[in-house]
Symmetry: D2
Subunit: 317 residues, 4 copies
């Protein structure tokens, strides 16, 4: 299913070369001011990367967000927020050579096995362009999270992104299955080309020796001063402890070879094919905003779902 | 929530030192033969580890599975399968010293923040003992998966477990959010002390150079002979390609220090405490069966949910 | 949440006087031919009613469906199908008098209590106009159901609608909570102004005497000839028996008084207000297509979710 | 699936003549005092009916609730509350004659079509005895609701039960699909033999003339004094308005004929069979506590899910 989240939910739609991409945000609290400039700047980070780069794809969509519902007089209504981003500059003929063949490393073959049909143009629904809808959803989540004192930022380290979430109170997350770290892992591995995930202030913190791993308490500390180190990345037993939440996501390199590739045809034979469409040569600068967007969706969902504690529920016996 | 899965679902219950641990398996197909010997052997792997070891906790529960429903004349009925494992040899006085203090590295503090109360005995619901219910659920899932030609095994490498799933047909998983690899990551990070997850035949395969990463097709190959390598671990675009599904899960070391530890008290002060209860010194030999059990639950869920392909749905226009 | 269904899911969005109404259909099988003429005719039934009538609202939106995704070369792709219906002829000034007051019998007061804010224009999200998105979703569901041999029609009887679903095989539905009749009741009561629901060939069949109620078997019968009568309406123990599924839904009359009404103001005082906007005087002719659409969504969802029977799952022991 | 609810969830298990019936309550807030006497009295109402009656089945199970988890020092922990009720006095031989035949009016035939197998003894999972687990779940929900000021009672009127829920604040429920009245209808139609549902202070209120239907405001009123009448039954636009919530559920008569019946055999032939097992001759006195239990589960779920209003979410812009 194309929905992420339980309480603060994003449903995305759209094929890379169809009419539009977009989404529906359901469960966003009422009253959030929608800052169109911020949303446009997040989309720009996705398109052009965090740093100027000549390596990303030259496709230059304006990526303008058209709001269809859920906003009135500049604020969210608490009703579903639908938005669309029109696809432009589609040249389907570019992809005609790919209609009957499956590229190595792509989702062409698995998609065909799953659905029995597909829109082969530019990856169709499996295109990285689908992440534009995630970025809009994540940006709206960030706007709400800001009102709750939560901020998210990230650093690019090779094909790895370190993400830091600050301001999350202790007690967020569920024990057993639906742990905060498990949901973050689920969110990160849902990003195209994501291959690894780990919790911790530093990559590899979990490999420390037993005596050196547990974060020791600071007397009287709380929130970001609770413990002297943050090897666990701010989550214990699946629940936040008030320290910054820190995790690392690794991505495999681009799988489209600009020099062409050997594809599998429907009959199982192989054929050398020279790609013509627009494809990234380096998507790594685009990754941070997508990582942050998915993290924002996870946190917004948990903060909306937050179960009131015993004293808040006014049980008096 | 204490439920894992959408279609083949496991709900677990129980505190470490309460009356019983157990679970309800809902959505298991009817007709599966329940092999009690297999289930007992899986529970033994969880209790004593895959290899003889004197380092695991000396707690010797029999871990006998009592079936409460869902089985008739030795086969599943398609109705909920409830089971309980009684807790024995509980000595609550062992834990009285821990009632008002939060150990470093444990879930004590976060649980208190989440619920405002807790069962402090042996970790309560947050105890690793809860995984016994996962192992029973996973064993039932394995029994069904075997009838579908799917097998799961694992290898322990330090505090890392490599898991291999064979026999999964191409086309299993969902694109976009609910990817097969994302669900595996979610399942793995839900295991107590799990800290990292990565896809791929070998740990670090995703760090290869761009030209060296994509798995190349074998002419005419399919299933386990589809590609020459398996750097992607059998999943492309979130969907299985028929190759073995391979992933690695990393776990942090035990956080209970047998020499005692400095705990945080309810008022924020620190206090040195000597632990008395039963605690693992090395839980790594127990991990493989838990990893396999969660993987079995993920695969059983996806195979039950499998959306019929276009031709199977008999659309004739 | 604004989503209906588990497997074949419709998410709707839009306020009555916002930019657009619309929805996302997620889980529709791939390969369904989209018949735009049929969808337009269903929308016309919703706007003008099943029979010519001068009593329905004179608002004359074209209600054109704009497809945004999920359709390629005239067939569904198996990906989310997003659509929008633009709102036209909005005259917000019509509703300015209603900004601070709550009409009797409407959702104005409860919505304000729920969200703390609302779009007061024409009922906003609570407007009956939202049902246009349900009709599009239901029409797509019908197109798929037709390929499965299932047809749905209905009869208007006062403010009551009788709905008949033919061609549903025996064995559809879940026992215990998620019964087919329970889901139909849930779907029907979700329609604005719906007030009652009952199963059975004839309204009141369930009030028969004990000896006269059970439907007696026809020797060798199956499908629509299974039983001599259909007092149960084709569902036993929550599961279809192959007979036509028949139920009745009752609706309360329109609550907008064309002569004006006494509204409650934000401070609790009362005030006589003359309505200016466009409002139905008789919505009953519009109801059948909405009833059918929701029934189609329920059936499409169950048929997609259908659990394979023991023999189909190839368990061989 | 055998789970009811989203946030306050009850999963039930058990066949009529298996080892035990029971359930898992997940999402109950921590700190609720479990009153075993109250739970026993609710089970007694289910077994013997609200009034002394010699017509109900003579089966005399003690129906003792065994708590397996989730309760510590007399209060709920916020973790899953599992419970079992052992089946006693099972005489499987009573039902041997029913192994290969489908009784008229029962779920035998549909269950076989759905699963391809069944436990034929006493209805198996489809037995009315399954409602014992609902009553325990509902009783726990009532214990929590009482701390929130909500009370539930009901009146029996023929085979119809009128249910009144008092103390629900305005603003509970969701608009569009997941309306409070839709969820109540879903809950009621999930009860064995339930056939109809309607909202309103009096049965048939929705059939009033247009001008006479809308409930008129009382100046300055709120809660139970909001409107002069309660034709809508306390729900407008799917959301509570603070008035008592009132609805009616109708049930068809018992379908087991004490004089025997004509059953359908597996080969489609008919055969007269004299029943031997224990069966109700009049289940109507047992219905009120089941209706109340399901209503309690719906309300507990909504109150736990309650979305905080704009001002509570501290959005300050």
């Amino acid at each position: 299913m194309n929905t992420f989240g339980h309480s603060f939910r994003l449903t995305t739609f759209g094929e890379s070369h169809g009419t539009a991409l977009g989404g529906v945000i359901d469960g966003c609290p009422a009253g959030v001011v929608i800052d169109d400039g911020f949303i446009a700047s997040e989309l720009l980070r996705r398109r052009d990367g965090d740093s100027p780069s000549s390596l990303t794809t030259p496709r230059k969509e304006p990526d303008t967000t058209e709001w269809l519902s859920g906003i009135y007089e500049g604020r969210t209504l608490g009703t579903p927020i639908a938005f669309a981003i029109r696809n432009q500059n589609c040249q389907p003929e570019d992809y005609e050579a790919l209609r009957d063949c499956f590229r190595p490393g792509h989702a062409d073959y698995t998609w065909q096995q799953r659905y029995g049909c597909r829109d082969h143009r530019g990856g169709g629904r499996a295109s990285g362009r689908e992440t534009a809808a995630r970025v809009v959803g994540g940006a709206v989540a960030k706007l709400w999270l800001t009102t709750q004192g939560v901020s998210i930022h990230s650093l690019r380290q090779g094909f790895e992104v370190k993400c830091i979430i600050e301001g999350v109170p202790a007690g967020i997350g569920n024990p057993v299955f639906d742990r905060l770290n498990a949901r973050l892992a689920y969110a990160m591995l849902s990003i195209p080309s994501a291959s690894s995930f780990e919790m911790g202030e530093n990559a590899g913190d979990w490999k420390r020796a037993a005596g050196d791993y547990p974060d020791q308490w600071i007397a009287g500390g709380e929130g970001a001063t609770l413990t002297a180190t943050n090897h666990c990345g701010g989550v214990q037993g699946g629940i936040s402890n008030g320290m910054p939440i820190v995790f690392h996501t690794g991505f495999h390199p681009p799988v489209t070879n600009p020099d062409g590739m050997v594809c599998r045809m429907a009959d199982g034979s192989l054929k050398a094919v020279a790609p013509h469409g627009r494809h990234d040569q380096d998507h790594s600068t685009r990754l941070p905003v997508i990582v942050e967007s998915m993290a924002a969706l996870v946190l917004a969902d948990f903060l909306c779902l937050r179960v009131k504690r015993i004293d808040e529920l006014k049980i008096e016996n």
